[in-house]
Symmetry: none
Subunit: 225 residues, 2 copies
């Protein structure tokens, strides 16, 4: 397989250097931009396999860059931010960020998230069957199996799980989930979500009190892995 190409949009030289060294030693091809304008231009000229985007850029906020990118760029965008600000995170994810990390971050974690994001973007398109350990979700047949046995799910439970499966290991915000599963206008009914995540966990988790698949991201949403 060819080296995956990663574009880093960040104005801090230390971060740039750190990322470059780590990514290159992990066999990624690295391309760098220091401003929003430069980054967008580079992404447009030669679309990379993944973009790492800093929120605090000199010329334009990362949010704006993201929303601009998302008009035509479908591959993963991972957000970096010095702020551990919930509103910021939620807004970024809602705009279409694949993942987010707060500085300072652990390099190992970043690499893992990059791997996960790239893997997903490669298999997502044509994979009709999503598997996660003992779980198997067939998005065409609309059937969920656990240890090869069919799990009986209600329509809403299935829709919810399918949404998670399509966005494996990506944090989905409450708002986004509610909009996708219940429809526009239900975005404030967070309690629905809690109830249904609860019943899903009872059906798909080994131990629902210590979920391994449906992970709570407090204040933000949920993540499926």
């Amino acid at each position: 397989m060819n080296k995956a190409e990663i574009l880093i949009i960040d104005d801090e030289p230390q971060i740039q250097k750190l990322l470059q060294i780590n990514l290159e030693s992990n066999d990624y091809k690295v391309v760098q931009a220091r401003t929003a304008k430069e980054g967008i231009l580079m992404a447009a000229n030669h679309p990379p396999d993944l973009i790492i985007l800093d929120i605090g850029l000199p010329d334009k906020s990362g949010h704006e860059v993201l929303s601009e990118l998302r008009h035509w760029y479908a591959k993963p965008v991972i957000i970096l931010s010095v702020l551990d600000n919930e509103k910021d995170i939620v807004s970024a994810l809602d705009t279409g960020a694949t993942d987010y990390l707060t500085k300072p971050f652990r390099t190992g974690e970043l690499l893992a998230r990059i791997r996960a994001a790239i893997r997903r973007s490669q298999t997502a398109v044509n994979a009709s069957v999503v598997t996660a350990n003992e779980l198997e979700i067939d998005l065409v047949a609309r059937i969920v199996k656990r240890n090869n046995e069919i799990v009986k799910l209600t329509a809403t439970e299935y829709n919810l799980l399918a949404l998670f499966a399509k966005n494996e290991s990506k944090v989905l915000t409450h708002q986004y989930i509610l909009k996708e599963v219940w429809g526009y206008g239900y975005q404030t009914e967070t309690q629905y979500l809690r109830v249904f995540v609860g019943s899903l966990r009872k059906k798909i988790e080994e131990n629902p009190n210590n979920p391994q698949h449906l992970i709570t991201e407090s204040g933000v949403g949920y993540r499926f892995q």
Copy 2:
């Protein structure tokens, strides 16, 4: 049912070993070949239920092997490749590959795809007789037997059951069923469906109150198994 037999054509010993262990522990019988020539010979002498074919073989490209196989071998062929190359994928699928996976692959996913492929090849279009335990549905002769006795069905009942049989273990939505059996414009007549599913159950189920074949998927549709 007998163990399904899988032929692996791959020259990398690690992959061979990995596949062998995983497949055998999932109750498949595994046969192995290390070259294209050997693989074709083995497939011809004793046709397996599925072939896993590596694209990068020492003596001949997997594409050639595939096209040669397809002259007489109709069962699933899953391609493995180190290249995540769209042109390659398209070309393989066009030559008749059932599925395509890039190395490194997740074992769970491969197993799921194998299951899906085998299931499809057993029931899909090419099968004119679908059997489910004591039931036998001959789609060419339009005859349904239960414990070897002919079941008398009306035209609509038969059309409905045939649709289910062609889509075994797949959830079909009300809308879809209505469109297929009654035609475009009947998609809201869900009650028809209930009535006919009811009468079908009386004819094909051991105990119509606890159906084993025609399963209700509340809020969505029905599933035949």
